[in-house]
Amino acid sequence: MRRVALIRFVLLVAAIVVLPFCVRPVVASEICIFAIAAMALNLIFGYTGMLSFGQATFFGLAAYTAGLMMIHWHAPLLAVLAAGTLVGGVAAALIGYVCIQRVGTYFIMLTFGFNQMLYFIAYKWTAVTGGDDGLPGIPRPPFAVGPLSISLDSSLRYYGFVAVSFLLAFYAMKRIVDSPLGVIFRAIRENPGRAAAVGYDVKRYKWLAFTIAGAFTGGAGVLYSMMFGIVPLESISWIISGDIVFMVLIGGIGNLYGPLLGAAAFKWLSEAISVVWERWPLILGVALVLVVLFLRGGLVEAFTRVRDIVAGGGPRPEPDEPVSVPDAAESQARP
């Protein structure tokens, strides 16, 4: 089982390495950035069962924070990344505390409502955010640790930094879902009442999941702010929230690899088709409808189906990896 996990991880790294040569580095960077945000949503939606329609709140807040720090203080890269992650987490803790008091559609609409309010603040507070024009003139600081300093000026180099950040985030996320938290989150998703009855303070864990997701989303927002030297207003708009939701759904929920596949498919599709035909959303819509009607596990399921056909049938593995079991079995086998 460990071997399978390792092979998967190597394949992931390989995919990340090849990506900027399959699509343009700029698009590849954006795929990785949104994959981090989608991964975060996957934690609260796929693993914990809370569909947030307001992730742009944390994405945008962190992007603005990072932009302002770099413009006004020329803050170094890693400090900005840390600050944005923190801002995302703190904002998610504050907003999440209110949102998790409600469930279902009310929860969704609360996250959406807060998103709209912060969008409005960003829109009106032009002195700080630049409003509708966006926050321009953001430098891209070099990656500097001690005496080492690497310029990230070219698209490819920046992709390198984004890709490493993504892999670190992926590893962190994997550790979270492999930890007891992962089991608890999934238990809450499956049956919140029962999770409480066995002794979990459901709201506290939901809050925790929401906060963690906010921090990851914040990190993604920081990376986004450095992409084009501008934080556009739509980085905090519900359009981004919606995109993140659809990336997770397309990729397949509750699976670690789903968000990356979803982000890649979503961005790649919209980029590739938009160059060919200006009415590209039509094709995107048709693809979505077909996926939903005929391929519901998302791309992860498509993958396993193809693999099964290639491998000559055999039982299809559960799309939902039982994360802790293999490890548990192993640890028992060890002395």
Binding site: V183, G193, Y200
Partner: protein
């Protein structure tokens, strides 16, 4: 309150609007016994459980567990105090594996804090050992890797019990463990419950009179939200009120 009382309810009352679902129920469950609550459908048994476990707030009355008042405590506090329950409708984590269902319940009793969660789930060998012991106890060891939703109904009921046992409670509340089971599975479940007697204090809701009479130490009979009789199986069997209320209502 006598020294070995583990659970006591004191005039527990619950109103849903104009309807009084539970009316001044006072129970006294002794440690190490199996205490059953019987009564016709709608007599307020499950509501009584929900009141004890904090799922529903009582309109009046109090609940004491091991001498400590627990009235209105949040449901998630009770397992930490030593009180666990099973539900009438199978209520497990369907998409988690059988093992994970039990693992989650065992782990809940430990409070490792956020830092403890940085470790991998598989690294908690004591939790793992407890979980496997409980699974063996209820006879599900062989199915531990299966998803809970793929189990047969009887196995799901057993898992339901296992999840409750996993938190090593001092008081176990079982809400109709044999409900909806085929005769074969009912026998299995009865055996399982019997095997728990003595090891755990059990408060049991059950419909099947034969089972109740054969395994209970004490029985409380409820009708229209009130306890109308209480005693040993023999005493209850001979009670006229019980016969009238119970059999009358069943007809």
């Amino acid at each position: 309150m006598s020294a070995d009382t583990i659970l006591r309810t004191d005039g527990l009352t619950c109103d849903f609007g104009a309807l009084r679902a539970v009316n001044h129920v006072s129970l006294d469950v002794k440690g190490g016994t199996l205490h059953s609550v019987i009564g016709p459908n709608g007599s307020g048994k499950t509501t009584l459980f929900n009141l004890i476990c904090g799922e529903v707030r009582p309109s009046a009355g109090r609940v004491y567990f091991e001498g400590r008042e627990v009235t209105g405590r949040a449901p998630h506090d009770l397992p930490h105090l030593g009180l666990a329950r099973c539900f009438q409708r199978t209520n497990v984590f369907p998409k988690l594996s059988v093992y994970e269902n039990v693992w989650a319940a065992v782990f809940a009793r430990r409070t490792p804090g956020v830092l403890g969660c940085v470790r991998r789930a598989g690294e908690f060998s004591d939790v793992d050992a407890d979980a496997r012991r409980v699974l063996a106890d209820v006879g599900l060891a062989a199915r531990s890797e299966a998803r809970a939703e793929t189990l047969s109904h009887g196995q799901q009921r057993a898992l339901e019990v296992a999840v409750a046992l996993a938190s090593s409670p001092r008081l176990l509340l079982l809400d109709e463990p044999t409900q909806g089971l085929a005769p074969e599975a009912t026998v299995q479940m009865t055996k399982l419950v019997q095997s728990l007697v003595g090891r755990y204090t059990i408060l049991l809701i059950e419909h099947k009179m034969r089972i109740v009479m054969s395994i209970s130490d004490r029985i409380s009979v409820m009708a229209f939200g009130e306890v109308i009789a209480e005693g040993t199986p023999d005493e209850v069997r001979d009670n006229r009120d019980v016969q009238r209320a119970y059999l009358g209502a069943r007809r």
